[in-house]
Symmetry: C2
Subunit: 356 residues, 2 copies
């Protein structure tokens, strides 16, 4: 594989947004990383260049057949002034898993990680100040061959862009209301649910809009076969504390293998909790709630880290969880993971990657 | 809605490819149609301009969340020298149906049809000579807002590009071998199978590659719930002639509503055949074949029109259909539909739209 990285710095730097009004994914840093692929040359021409528009032929395959994969992770400034990233090796491994599913050629994850580190180093002034702010890192690969016809593209472009982002919930961690979606489906076994690919997200937008209209924050997705079993919440994995035990849907092929999910399971086990990964029906959950055994529920993901669930609405049934306030365990997980991510707490599992 | 169409003709025309080596989707004409959408202005700035690359922000939503829909249809030169299109109203209606599923704003189908007619008129020299050649028309809409975050984009671009294409099978209509896919799934009810959106195609590429490696032309997709019921073949709808009757999968929500499918059903009924749209299991079909009742099978779609199926392979079972040659009915349908499309046969159902 190639190992050269060309750098062409921008001559005029943009002004940075105020760190108290960042939102999510609205601003982008001064540079980006690009690498091209062709069947003849493999991945080549790795370069960091000024952030700016790319030129695509209107027939570029990604615009027609959705051959695309992406990742999302964050960089933080630690109290020591270092730049920390959280388990980027897992994200890049998942990128290659996604590539495999969508017939996109594998990348050299070590090289890409170095390139990302270099990009973050160059644009480190874009890591925003502020307790809950971070620099969001978005690697993605698109099929660029200029041809119509459903097949794997012979050309791709890998890009990495950076966006300073605020707290996912500007009001801070707080419980959200969730709508159990019974008609629309995000993914089904044998489909692409396990891959981080664009089509999975397009398919969810409509259900999300309907839930918003009905006054809910997010959708809880049920399985595509029987519409009975819990899969994910919005773009997050989901956990339930039932009678002292922690339950989360098993990775059966239609669920994204979240990095936060894995970290939460590891911490909980370390803390002495029993964590069970298995099939969980929505019926079972409502029954547990009726019996007063559903103690907490929360989503996990890079964007919000831990997102407590305050209520679930399923058909004509409705249930409040942990009195509509953030549960103790949700808060503890949030504090622990963000503490490790930001270099404020010890890192017993070696999760933090320091950009040297 | 807007009704102005600006035209900016290219100053240098490209040289055209030889009409006996067109392939599919490899060449593009001199002009393209573009129209923009913003939440403030709706669809606006409709224009025909020289074909060329478009500029997209790297964060353009289509490149991350797959908010995209497309269509495919063809234009032909009739023996009278006119330009004919086949049922374009159905394609544009389907475009709006796809938009609805993916939360993309509706288009004014009449205006878009006029714009397409104007584009084809301008680039009519690109309609290739040759019995089975045609000018393929690809309308598509992409989400262009420069922002990350899973939600509907506030900006879109509708484009139409034209590609002179050859016969889908250069050897002419002939039976292909089909692999019944049991692991991977194209779509499931509640998902996006009924919409013509990019994610549906990305998800199919891998199965298609595996089938190719095993020596088959295409994949037959089973339903996503039970992996038992027949849905489509590659990017085509599928028909079976069993004991004199014609069977085709009912439109249950995960199948594209093909224009060719509808035309085939109409013709067959006109010819006195019984056409049954219902759920069809792969087991039932193999049983019919064992009893010698499976007389013909064929796929239908804009690209190949009618694609006879010569054999089906399902797990360790294999069945040859109509002796591996093109069945009589498949040939009759192919001749009738292509005849109507090309203005060589009478058009009793008013399917042909003539570009004036
Ligand atoms: C569909 C989906 N599920 C779960 C997650 C959570 O994964 P992670 O914890 O790696 O961010 C994400 C976000 O990345 C996602 O898009
Ligand atoms: C998935 C799928 N099914 C079926 C079809 C056939 O539809 P039509 O006859 O309108 O081309 C197509 C092609 O457009 C398709 O992409």
């Amino acid at each position: 594989m190639m190992s050269e990285l060309h750098i062409n710095l921008s001559e005029s730097l943009k002004s940075k947004p105020a760190s108290d009004a960042l939102g999510f994914g609205k601003y982008f840093s001064d540079h980006m990383f690009i690498m091209d692929y062709s069947s003849e040359d493999g991945w080549h021409d790795a370069r960091i260049i000024p952030y700016g528009p790319i030129s695509l032929d209107p027939s570029a395959m990604v615009l027609h057949y959705g051959q695309e994969v992406f990742e999302g992770m964050k960089a933080y400034r630690t109290p020591l002034g270092e730049i920390a990233m959280f388990r980027p090796d897992m994200n890049l491994k998942r990128l290659n898993n996604s590539c495999e599913r969508i017939s996109i050629p594998q990348v050299d994850t070590e090289f890409v990680l170095e390139a990302i580190a270099q990009l973050v180093r160059i644009d480190q002034e874009w890591i925003p100040d502020g307790e809950e702010n971070a620099l969001y890192i978005r690697p993605f690969i698109i099929a660029t061959e200029a041809a119509l016809g459903v097949r794997a593209s012979k050309q791709y472009m890998l890009m990495v862009i950076l966006s300073p982002v605020g707290a996912y919930y500007p009001e801070g961690i707080h419980p959200v209301s969730i709508y159990v979606e019974e008609q629309y489906v995000r993914a089904v076994r044998g489909g692409t649910g396990e891959a981080k690919t664009s089509g999975n997200y397009a398919s969810g937008i409509k259900a999300q809009e309907i839930a918003k209209t009905k006054g809910f924050s997010q959708v809880l997705w049920l399985d595509g076969k029987q519409h009975k079993y819990i899969e994910e919440v919005g773009s997050m994995n989901v956990f339930f504390k039932v009678n002292g035990e922690i339950l989360t849907p098993a990775l059966t092929g239609s669920i994204l293998q979240g990095v936060t999910r894995d970290s939460v399971i590891t911490l909980l086990r370390e803390w002495g909790y029993t964590v069970v990964e298995r099939v969980i029906s929505i019926e079972e959950l409502f029954e547990a709630s009726r019996q007063g055994l559903l103690e907490e529920a929360f989503g996990t993901g890079t964007a919000a880290v831990i997102s407590p669930i305050g209520s679930l609405s399923w058909g004509d049934k409705n249930t409040e969880i942990s009195g509509g306030v953030t549960g103790e365990l949700s808060q503890r997980l949030y504090d622990s993971i963000t503490g490790i991510q930001r270099g404020k707490l010890a890192d017993p599992f070696n999760w933090v990657y320091t950009v040297k």
